[in-house]
C-alpha cells in the first residue's frame, strides 16, 4: 500500500544535512521539526511518524519535544500567523487595545484561524522589543509601536 508522503524529499534532504556535526541524530530533532514546519506550515501526526525513523527516535519522544516549544505548531495554521506580544511592557503600553482591534477585524479570538485560512491569531510572550511596545510578528515581519489605526494597512500586505 502506498500512502502519500507528507515530508517532501526536499525537506528530507535538508534534515539529513543536519546530522553532519552532531554526535547522534536526536540532537537534530528541534531543527528537523523547524524544517518540517517550514515546508508544511505545521507538524501533523503523519509528519511525526515519518520523522521517527529519520531521527531514530520514537513518535512519542518526538511529540514530547514538539509540544514543549511555543512555536512548533501541532495544529493546522493559516497562510499567515499573527503573534501578538502579551507580556508586561506591551500590556502597559496598550496591548489590550490592539488585541481588541485585531479580534474585531479578523472576527476570531486567540487560537483560531479565519474561515478563508488567511490568518491564525496567537498570543506570544515578549518579543524583545519592549522599548517599542506594543509589538507583534506576522510570519517573520516585526511590527512595533502599534496603533489600532495602522492595523488595516499592515494586514493588507498578507494575501
Amino acid at each position: 500500500m502506498v500512502t502519500a508522503q507528507v515530508i517532501s524529499n526536499e525537506a528530507r534532504q535538508e534534515i539529513e544535512k543536519l546530522f553532519h556535526h552532531l554526535p547522534h541524530k536526536q540532537a537534530a530533532c528541534i531543527d528537523a521539526l523547524k524544517i518540517v514546519q517550514k515546508y508544511n506550515r505545521w507538524v501533523s501526526d503523519e509528519a511525526l511518524q515519518e520523522l521517527a525513523p529519520i531521527l531514530e527516535m520514537s513518535v512519542h519522544e518526538i511529540d514530547s519535544v514538539a509540544t514543549f516549544y511555543n512555536i512548533i505548531f501541532r495544529r493546522p495554521v493559516g497562510r499567515h500567523v499573527i503573534l501578538l506580544c502579551n507580556s508586561v511592557s506591551c500590556w502597559i503600553m496598550g496591548y489590550e487595545e490592539i488585541k481588541k482591534a485585531l479580534k474585531d477585524k479578523l472576527k476570531i479570538d486567540f487560537g483560531m484561524t479565519t474561515k478563508d485560512d488567511r490568518f491564525t491569531f496567537l498570543p506570544i510572550p515578549c518579543l524583545g522589543t519592549c522599548d517599542h511596545a506594543p509589538a507583534m510578528i506576522i510570519d517573520e515581519d516585526l511590527y512595533r509601536d502599534l496603533k489600532p489605526d495602522q492595523l488595516d494597512e499592515i494586514l493588507a500586505k498578507y494575501e
Binding site: 521539526l33 516549544y69 508586561v88 502597559i92 510572550p125 522599548d131
Partner: protein, 426 residues
C-alpha cells in the same frame, strides 16, 4: 565617557561588516590573545572583574577556571553564547547581535581559546529573525577571513561555530535547560552538580555565557584589565553595562553606561523621565523576575551589590517602569500568567503553584477576590522560594509578587473590598 560595546553601532540600524569592524579595531583582541597562553587570557579576564551579564553576575574568569585543562581533559569542549533573552522586558542582547555580530563572535573565539574549546554555538531567541540573518552572514565572513575554522590566523588553535535558533520557551535561557535544547530534547533544567563547566553539552566541559558578557571580552583583551575596571563606577565589578527602560517613560531605549550608574540617572537623564500625565509608581530594575523598587530609591547604584541591598536584583539591567495609571495587581497577574505558562513542569511547587497564583490574581482583577487570598499569595511566595524548587524560574516569578504585596498592599486590599479594579476603564 567610553562606550566600547556600542560606540561603533551604526545609527541607521545596519550591522558592521567585517571590514568596518576591523577598521575600528575589531579582532585586535583576538590577535593579542593568540600571542599569549590560554592561562594568561583567563587571568586578564579574572583581573578585569567582568561579571556575567545574564542576570546572576557570576565572575566570568572564575567560571572559566573550573573547566578541566591539560592534555588529559575531556574533549571536545564547548563554548555557548546564551542569546535566548526571553525574560519579559529585556531587549539588550538584541542591540548587540543586530548591531555588531562580529563583536560577539570575536568574544566567543577568545573565550574558546582560553578554555581550549573546539566547537561553539550561538543560541538565539527565535523571534530575532533579522539578527539570525546577520549572525549567519558574519559567521561566513569570519570563516572566509580565517578567524574561524582550522588554524585560526596561522596558529595551532581551531574552532567551529554554529548558529542555533530556538523555538521559544523561556526556560531555554536557564543554562542547563539550554544545553538540553541544544541536544534536541525538552528544555528541562538539569541537576547541578555536575556543573556545565565539567559536564555540559553532550557530557563535555562547556561554558555558557550571556551575549553581553562575551561582547566585553574583545575589549578587555585589546585594552587590558585596568582600563576595563576604570570604566566602572562600581566597587564590585568592571566595565560598562547596557541599561534599558520600557513603560511610560519619554524615551524608552537601551544605553551603555558605567556599571554602577544610579537608577535616578537612568530614568531621569537617559529615559527622559515619565511621559506627561504619568507619575512613577514603582519599577522592576532588571526584568520580569526582579523585586519592585519604589520612587524613593532613585539614589541607588545599579550594580549587583547595591540593588541587592535595596531588596531587589540587578538582573538584566533592563528596567520595566510602572506608572500611576497601571494596576499593580494587574501587572502581577500579567507576570504570573507568563511564568505559569512558561514553567517547564518538572517540579511541583512551580508546576502547581504558579497557575494557582495566577488564578488568584485573576480573581482579584475580576472582582472576585476574598480576604484570605492575601494569605494564599503570601504562602506561594514562600512555597516557591529558593531551595524549594528545581531551578530559579519559580523563585524569580515570586520576586515581583512578594515586593508588590509589600509596596502596593493597599491596592490588593482595595480590589478585595470593592470587588473591582479601579484602573480598568469602560
Amino acid at each position: 565617557m567610553e562606550r566600547p560595546l556600542t560606540e561603533h553601532i551604526k545609527q541607521d540600524g545596519t550591522p558592521l561588516s567585517l571590514k568596518e569592524y576591523e577598521a575600528v579595531g575589531g579582532y585586535q583582541g583576538l590577535r593579542n590573545a593568540l600571542k599569549v597562553s590560554p592561562a594568561d587570557v583567563m587571568n586578564v579576564v579574572k583581573d578585569s572583574k567582568l561579571r556575567g551579564r545574564g542576570g546572576a553576575g557570576f565572575p566570568t574568569g572564575v567560571k572559566w577556571s573550573f573547566v578541566p585543562m591539560g592534555d588529559n581533559a575531556p574533549s571536545p569542549k564547548y563554548i555557548v553564547a546564551n542569546g535566548d533573552e526571553m525574560e519579559p522586558g529585556t531587549f539588550k542582547d538584541r542591540l548587540l547581535v543586530e548591531g555588531n555580530p562580529h563583536q560577539l563572535i570575536e568574544g566567543m573565539i577568545i573565550s574558546a581559546y582560553a578554555i581550549g574549546a573546539s566547537m561553539s554555538y550561538i543560541f538565539l531567541r527565535w523571534a530575532y529573525h533579522e539578527a539570525a540573518k546577520r549572525i549567519q552572514y558574519a559567521l561566513n565572513e569570519a570563516y572566509e577571513a580565517g578567524y574561524l575554522g582550522k588554524n585560526i590566523l596561522g596558529s595551532p588553535f581551531s574552532l567551529e561555530m554554529d548558529l542555533h535558533t530556538s523555538v521559544g520557551r523561556y526556560i531555554c535561557g536557564e543554562e542547563t535547560a539550554l544545553l538540553n535544547a541544544l541536544e534536541g530534547k525538552r528544555a528541562n533544567p538539569r541537576n547541578k552538580p555536575p556543573f556545565p563547566q565539567v559536564s555540559g553539552l553532550f557530557g563535555k566541559p562547556t561554558i555558557v555565557n550571556n551575549v553581553e558578557t562575551f561582547s566585553n571580552i574583545p575589549h578587555i583583551l585589546a585594552k587590558g584589565a585596568q582600563w576595563y575596571i576604570s570604566l566602572s563606577k562600581s566597587e564590585g565589578g568592571g566595565g560598562t553595562k547596557l541599561y534599558g527602560a520600557s513603560g511610560k517613560v519619554k524615551r524608552p531605549a537601551i544605553w551603555e553606561l558605567p556599571l554602577g550608574t544610579t537608577l535616578g540617572e537612568v530614568i531621569e537623564e537617559h529615559a527622559g523621565g515619565m511621559q506627561d500625565g504619568y507619575k512613577l509608581r514603582g519599577l522592576l530594575p532588571g526584568g520580569a523576575s526582579t523585586d519592585f523598587l519604589t520612587p524613593d530609591q532613585m539614589n541607588i547604584k545599579l550594580d549587583f551589590e547595591e540593588v541587592a541591598k535595596a531588596g531587589s536584583r540587578m538582573g538584566t539591567g533592563t528596567i520595566i517602569v510602572m506608572d500611576d495609571k497601571t494596576c499593580p495587581v494587574g501587572m502581577c497577574l500579567n507576570l504570573e500568567q507568563f511564568f505559569a505558562q512558561e514553567s517547564c513542569g518538572w517540579c511541583t511547587p512551580c508546576r502547581e503553584g504558579l497557575p494557582w497564583t495566577a488564578k488568584i490574581l485573576l480573581a482579584l482583577e475580576e472582582g472576585n477576590g476574598k480576604p484570605e487570598d492575601i494569605d494564599h499569595l503570601t504562602f506561594q511566595t514562600h512555597y516557591n522560594a529558593p531551595g524549594n524548587t528545581f531551578c530559579a524560574l519559580a523563585p524569580g516569578a515570586m520576586e515581583p509578587l512578594q515586593s508588590a504585596l509589600k509596596h502596593f498592599r493597599e491596592d490588593f486590599d482595595e480590589h478585595i473590598h470593592t470587588h473591582r479594579c479601579k484602573y480598568q476603564h469602560g
